[in-house]
């Protein structure tokens, strides 16, 4: 049994044009921002004296080309698959995560004065991808390959992030040569935002379709 969205995706065979345009725009603007001297500083989120719109633009500014390169590469890859599997939720995922990540930094990271980077949105797309795999058409079976992959991918990411949050350190990255402090919780919030955008929409569809199988396919086991 498939959701309407999967039926449409499968039928269309390519993601909606709007999603592609959004992804390409984000990538180009991010590159452009980095090319203009001083612009990343203007667009970053700042705890004191920052404008409201920097909550969104902070994701498009980076601390260095190295910081940008890996973030953008991951953004491209994950966008490719999210637009294929879950195009209608792609924009919502980016928007929700873009708002909640700086909010989390503002509330829970009082020592961080400014924030930049696309990687929070990358992890939101990762969350969306995991949700999309969980909801994939084959998921109607008791344990599909896509569900196993969703559990593996999501579990690994969450385990890594939870370990980092618990111990206070990063597993892979050391920003020793980068002029910023890694904000681990931004990844966690991004992932949760992406995952919830994917899952909750399915839940709402449950009430529309009143299909018990969709409930089984959409919600993770307790």
């Amino acid at each position: 049994m498939q959701t309407q969205e999967h039926q449409r995706t499968n039928h269309e065979g390519c993601p909606p044009l709007a999603g592609i345009l959004l992804a390409v725009s984000v990538a180009l603007v991010t590159l452009g921002v980095q090319c203009i001297h001083g612009l990343p500083e203007v667009l970053q989120w700042k705890r004191h004296g920052g404008m409201g719109w920097t909550w969104i633009t902070s994701h498009l500014s980076h601390w260095s080309w190295n910081h940008l390169a890996w973030d953008l590469f991951a953004f491209g890859l994950l966008s490719l698959l999210c637009l294929r599997l879950s195009p209608t939720r792609y924009a919502a995922c980016l928007l929700v995560a873009a708002v909640f990540i700086p909010l989390e930094v503002k509330i829970n990271q009082p020592l961080i004065e400014s924030y930049r980077g696309l990687s929070g949105l990358d992890t939101a797309l990762m969350g969306l991808l995991v949700a999309a795999l969980w909801r994939h058409p084959n998921a109607g079976h008791s344990c599909s390959v896509s569900q196993v992959l969703a559990v593996l991918g999501g579990g690994s990411f969450l385990a890594k992030t939870m370990y980092e949050l618990a111990t206070g350190g990063t597993v892979f990255v050391s920003a020793g040569n980068e002029p910023f402090v890694p904000v681990i919780s931004a990844h966690f919030v991004g992932f949760v935002c992406g995952f919830l955008v994917g899952i909750f929409k399915s839940m709402s569809r449950l009430t529309w379709n009143k299909g018990a199988m969709i409930l089984k396919a959409s919600l993770p086991s307790p």
């Binding site: 994950l78 400014s114 350190g169 990063t170 910023f180």
Partner: protein, 698 residues
């Protein structure tokens, strides 16, 4: 006379090439800095000389008890050693010297017998100790080894027996930007080449229990207390807003790292003045410690400035170079494009890594970060050459700050402190020193930094290192009070220190010592210049006729005086002979172990036989009596002298999270190459799975 074998117990030198797993538990930033760092740790422990057939002395247990109250800390260390050999040994125990610590008590327990220490002139103490030793008597000797360590000789440690050593020392506390920090140094700084060549690798394992008990009593509310690296072993009891008890206990612990206690005061506390007096009776001068915590609205520096980073890359920096490069990277990343910088490295000789000034734009910073990351330690330490090179090509139209990072052991080229003082005075610059490790030459660093109007800060490997560096950075990158001068009128004060700070930096707390005659109302005045304007701050204070609550202040004042004599000798103001003589007098009078005095530990009969007056016994009795009284007090005593209605300074004191002081700076999500590759792999798998299912559907 029994034949004796000379074996030693000392802080040692343990080379371990394993990545420190304990660092994984540290605070987020410290951890991210230290992951991947190959650590070679020198720690406390027992040693035997190279070639000795004896088994190493075992450490049965190691206990630390610290009380932080009334602006100073009392640390009591008790260790039990066991001699597993079949013969008696003479033992030497060494531990790193805590900065400004006044070693005040040494007690040895040999079997059922307990013997105590008295301070006498160094040579006299050594002679008496040797005589007692050769007579077969119980004896101990505590000496100061420059700025590096205290040495304890114990004779004898009986075969197959335990010996307990108890030491007590006091040190003043400072709070920086609302953060109090106490360091119990255990990690040897790795700068004593002679010791390294003499001793076998250390046995640093505590066979029984390692424990540390802290009691913090603050008149101001404390928001948080923590011991980084010991989170799992720490039990914290909050008894009141400003009263905490913290206990750390660990089995099978190795004494390879420092223990650091942080406590964070609540936000938005007022700027304030606290006066802690001591006066026994009405005759003779009283002693005071005054702590000024300014609350001033010091703005960030917005104009472009020049920064010279002078980095020690000598061999002794082996274990610290990564910390150094990380710290410098952070500061470089926070510079403004209008700023300029140079990087000077020094070991046997100095070199200009950046080949002149660089504009602090991103391209230059990135290039420099790569150069810094490629630095390798080696060679000796020629600090003078490094500073000389740093002072070349200065632009008279731009403010220049020198950021000096070193373990401070200057052993090549010019080493005379007077020459350093002259060099610093010859240029209009500020020098900010960061001293890594416990064996750093902080007297020299103080000479250099004080002469320039800068400051210096010690950094332990157990610290939240990034926090320390950024805390200092916030001072460097903000305006400061200039030409600051404190004066006290109304009551005669004498032998004061710290009344002419010159510059006062953001978050900096001023700790002053002095004596006073008479009693009654007085006025404290701070005159300074801030952003070109003259500023005057005043408050009333009262010196009591009598106050016996804190007799330890006399030792702290005397230690401060001793450091001033050392500074004056280092800068050529006072001949070394006069300085040594004054230090010896103060050491004996106030019973402090200095470079000119040692603590002799003998039985009562031996002290009587040698004709040594029991001054320390009397002091210790008075101090213990006061400590019992203070411990019984339900609330910490407030010594604030200005009032909430008329505060000394107009703004709240800068705090850790108040947005007006310490912060971690910029943050961002960070995806490492490995994370991205994992994501890519996951994406490809997902693509394969979903593509296959689509084909299946088709």
């Amino acid at each position: 006379m029994k034949a004796q074998t000379h074996t030693s117990i000392t802080t040692g030198h343990r080379k371990s090439d394993a990545v420190s797993t304990r660092s994984l538990q540290r605070y987020v930033i410290t951890l991210s800095l230290t992951l991947g760092l190959v650590v070679s740790v020198n720690g406390a422990g027992t040693l035997t000389p190279k070639g000795s057939p004896d088994q190493p002395i075992q450490i049965r247990d190691h206990h630390l008890e610290v009380t932080l109250n009334n602006g100073f800390a009392r640390s009591e260390v008790t260790q039990t050693f066991f001699n597993p050999n079949d013969k008696d040994l003479e033992a030497v125990y060494r531990f790193p010297l805590p900065k400004s610590a006044s070693l005040s008590e040494v007690t040895m327990t040999l079997g059922e017998r307990e013997i105590h220490g008295e301070v006498v002139e160094k040579e006299k103490a050594k002679t008496i100790y040797e005589n007692e030793k050769y007579a077969g008597n119980d004896a101990g000797l505590a000496t100061k080894n420059g700025y590096q360590s205290f040495d304890f000789q114990v004779h004898p440690v009986r075969a197959k027996s335990e010996t307990r050593l108890r030491i007590v020392y006091y040190q003043p506390l400072e709070i920086d930007t609302g953060i109090g920090r106490f360091v119990y140094p255990l990690e040897e700084g790795g700068t004593d080449d002679v010791a390294t060549s003499f001793w076998n690798p250390v046995n640093s394992k505590v066979e029984g229990t390692f424990s540390a008990a802290f009691e913090l009593k603050s008149a101001w509310p404390v928001a948080n207390v923590r011991v980084p690296g010991f989170e799992k072993e720490t039990v914290t009891d909050k008894l009141a807003d400003g009263h905490y008890k913290v206990r750390v206990e660990k089995k099978d612990h190795s004494l390879t790292g420092d223990l650091v206690l942080y406590y964070r005061l609540a936000d938005d506390l007022p700027g304030r003045v606290e006066l802690i007096p001591f006066r026994k009776g009405k005759s003779g001068p009283g002693t005071f410690m005054m702590v000024v915590t300014p609350g001033l609205d010091l703005k960030p520096l917005t104009g472009g400035a020049d920064y010279v980073f002078v980095l020690d890359t000598s061999g002794s920096m082996q274990t610290k170079l990564r910390v150094l490069t990380d710290g410098v990277s952070r500061v470089l990343g926070k510079m403004q494009p209008r700023d300029r910088y140079r990087i000077v490295t020094f070991s046997t000789t100095a070199s200009d890594l950046t080949n002149g000034w660089k504009q602090a734009d991103e391209a230059n910073v990135q290039e420099t970060l790569k150069q810094i990351a490629a630095l390798h330690p080696g060679g000796s330490t020629n600090l003078y050459d490094g500073l000389t090179l740093a002072m070349k090509d200065l632009d008279a139209d731009r403010a220049t700050s020198v950021i000096l990072v070193t373990d401070g052991v200057t052993n090549t080229g010019v080493v005379d402190p007077v020459a350093f003082h002259k060099l610093t005075k010859s240029h209009d610059i500020r020098i900010f020193g960061f001293l890594l490790g416990n064996s750093a030459n902080w007297p020299l660093m103080r000479t250099v930094c004080d002469a320039s109007g800068g400051f210096y800060a010690g950094v332990s490997n157990a610290d939240d290192i990034l926090g320390q560096i950024l805390q200092a950075k916030s001072k460097v990158l903000h305006e400061c009070l200039h030409d600051a001068e404190l004066s006290i009128t109304g009551v005669k004060t004498l032998n004061t220190t710290g009344l002419l700070p010159g510059k006062i930096y953001r978050g900096q707390q001023l700790v002053m010592f002095g004596q006073y005659e008479g009693s009654g109302e007085a006025e404290l005045v701070l005159k300074a210049r801030m952003t070109g304007e003259d500023k005057v701050y005043r408050t009333k204070l009262s010196f009591p006729e009598s106050d016996e609550a804190n007799p330890e202040l006399e030792r702290l004042w005397a230690m401060d005086q001793i450091e001033q004599f050392e500074l004056r000798a280092n800068t050529g103001v006072l001949p070394a002979g006069e300085s040594d003589s004054a230090i010896a007098d103060l050491g004996v009078k106030y019973q402090l172990v200095t470079d000119q005095t040692s603590m002799l530990v003998l039985g009562d009969d031996a002290f009587a036989r040698q004709g040594i007056e029991r001054r320390n016994e009397q002091r210790v009795a008075a101090e213990r009596s006061a400590q019992v009284t203070r411990a019984a007090a339900p609330q910490p005593m407030s010594y604030r002298v200005d009032s909430a209605q008329q505060p000394f300074t107009p703004s709240p004191a800068p705090s850790h999270s108040g947005g007006s002081g310490f912060s971690l700076g910029g943050g961002g999500g960070a995806l490492s190459p490995l994370t991205v590759v994992s994501m890519a792999l996951f994406t490809v798998l997902a693509l394969g799975v979903t593509g296959r299912s689509k084909k299946g559907k088709a």
